[in-house]
Symmetry: C2
Subunit: 402 residues, 2 copies
């Protein structure tokens, strides 16, 4: 058989570093602070067992049959209601589509929005799977710096202005404004409004990726960009992976009708439609407020683990190490002194029984060699503490060895 | 907002005619012989309710969590066992990946195999969603004629030879050998072997799309191309849509390791992984032989409806109308006298209370204007009879009006 039967496209697709790393973390003696998996103790198993039973028994003939590409009517209605309960009211210009997780949302968005060579504005660092979903469709990237308040929107304005002056085709701003992955930060309303002003001024679309929007550790729910948007340029992506179950592979996108319409056309080619059965189960979960009833416990659990991680970092890490202080989400981003390469350090860390994600995975230009992402979401609090302690010993060794 | 924010890719993706047509069939007064939906009365609702309950209760923490892109270990093992029970034994050169329905299988195969301008050999007519999945990645097509025995492999040899002589890059042969969609035919073993010889001679891959392989109305199960393949060039696609439930969106692909490996890499970008929950439910369904126990009833039910459709066509249709006689699958392909355009006739048919799919949807070159696909799978037998009667009146009117 000829060896050349694979398409040239294959040279563009590579293994995700994070996914490969998750394999390392499977050793039972390794505490993984790497993957952003939700805590399975928070899955509402009992409620979902009851719901699945009821769905299959009562509407099994529908739940097991083909369904529309955009989503089942009942799921889309419950998704809209859920968003409205959390501050996002859709306009007559908007529409919704269900997707098989937010990964598919980003892939379809890339497909219908990105032409070869178009520029996407991203945070530095940002979510690597989003970089991949845009890049596979030919995107190039421009990065905006971040600080404790999330994306620095003054830097955003500078970057966009410069790119436009150079004649670059800038298409959209991709942002995770709440509980940033990997940076851990949450933008305040002033910055959110400024971001939207910049988008307005330069006529850009905004993709608001919001998996952690409800997992916050502050009194009041954070306003979505989508709810502050007056000109219909925000495309809102809500995943159920972190607040219900990633194994269901369910997310949705709310945005301008023609974007959604074209996503549906592309989705016909990609997988025809998302599982009817999981949509029916999730719709009933949304309708009966399972997520909302679970939210206090979720927030308490993740806040406790965040506290443990921040305390332990504070107690253990040597001078010169810095980290972000999340008020939501799953992640703390750590910066080690210049000269340390966290990719090289990883094997030593795994030997000492702890894993993390090297920061360079989150920078489109592969910078950030001295940074890393720690997740507190999956391991029990005591393991978070022990993991950070182990990591500290690795960092101290590394600093001593310079 | 600028109107030009959609990518140029959007001009390549169009609405599927069949999907659009399904909307017509939603009128309660229309008998749809259009869509290839399985009969929902055959869904094993009771067994699946029990299985879903058990899966969520006993392994909910795994079934609701992220899982590997290639598929959960338990699903892949059960898929391999299922294939082996039905005559496909994988070699050490083969591997398996789960996909979100066979649509995604074909999309990923197109992605990893097709370069812009590559030729794919297809049957005339063939499954339109396969044409779409390959075309969206830049494929061009060459067609092979069909007769009562399915693909005419002598014509195949002629077409391939000619194309190769003209310097065309021919990549693969796509075929639905059993219960062909839309043609209704099943290839005998002699032709299957000949097809594989041609593939061997010209070093082509073969994609065997086999959703109907077990839904046959003959004594013995039909040999898969994959089971006759000696040189590891058959990529086998098995969907659970027709034998278990399309709403689960589950299929798998078994083929050469490097093809599967690259499909998994592309799938990471497309949707990260297929629903863990539906994989767990399906794995248990496979393990406990739910499909096999249901198979007699499935075959009896579809055979009865096929009989009704063929009998009614025989009794009612005027001279000059021809149709195929399926021994498996869901479809009968009808050829009307030259000059009749089934696309134009469709609106009249819907007015008379019956729907079908115009044949031109199944020809990559939009030929076959006087053909149509009828499906007997979804409506009850009596409705199949009534639908064909209504259709006959429309055809007679049309012939009289020429």
């Amino acid at each position: 058989m000829k060896p050349g039967y694979l398409s040239s496209r294959c040279s563009r697709i590579g293994a995700s570093e994070i996914r490969e790393l998750l394999k390392l973390a499977e050793r039972p003696d390794v505490i993984s602070l790497a993957g952003g998996l939700p805590d399975p103790r928070l899955f509402p198993k009992e409620e979902m067992t009851e719901i699945a039973k009821r769905v299959l028994r009562e509407v099994g003939e529908k739940a097991l049959q083909y369904s529309p590409t955009k989503g089942t009517a009942v799921f889309l209605r419950e998704a809209a209601d859920f968003m409205e309960r959390h501050g996002v009211r859709l306009s007559g210009e908007d529409d919704i589509i269900v997707t098989s997780g937010s990964q598919q949302a980003l892939y379809l968005l890339g497909g219908v929005l990105i032409d070869e060579g178009d520029y996407v504005i991203v945070e530095k660092p940002t979510y690597p799977a989003a970089l991949g979903a845009f890049k596979v469709h030919g995107a190039r990237f421009l990065g905006v710096r971040m600080d404790d308040g999330g994306m620095d929107t003054h830097d955003l304005e500078r970057v966009v202005k410069e790119a436009v002056n150079e004649g670059k085709r800038v298409k959209l701003i991709y942002t995770i404004p709440t509980g940033h992955n990997p940076y851990g930060t949450t933008m305040d309303n002033e910055r959110r409004k400024h971001l939207l002003e910049v988008a307005e001024k330069y006529d850009l679309l905004v993709v608001e990726d919001d998996p952690y929007g409800l997992i916050t550790f502050v009194e009041k729910e954070i306003d979505k960009l989508k709810s502050l948007d007056k000109s219909g340029r925000v495309i809102y992506v809500q995943s159920l992976s972190k607040i219900l179950s990633p194994g269901m592979r369910l997310a949705w996108v709310a945005g301008p009708k023609d974007v959604i319409e074209h996503m549906a056309l592309l989705k016909q080619y990609v997988d025809l439609h998302t599982s009817t059965l999981t949509q029916y189960i999730a719709a009933e979960t949304l309708r009966s407020r399972v997520i909302e009833r679970n939210l206090d416990r979720m927030r308490r659990t993740y806040k406790e683990k965040r506290d443990v991680m921040l305390e332990t970092l504070e107690e253990e890490m040597p001078e010169g190490v810095e980290w972000t202080k999340p008020i939501g989400g799953f992640f703390v981003f750590v910066k080690l002194p210049e000269g340390i390469d966290t990719s090289k350090m990883l094997m030593k860390a795994v030997e000492k029984g702890v894993a993390y994600v090297p920061g360079s995975a989150f920078f489109y230009d592969r910078s950030g060699a001295n940074t890393m992402r720690l997740s507190y979401s999956y391991p029990p609090a005591e393991m978070v503490r022990e993991g950070v302690k182990r990591l500290t010993r690795v960092v101290r060794d590394e600093l001593a060895g310079r």
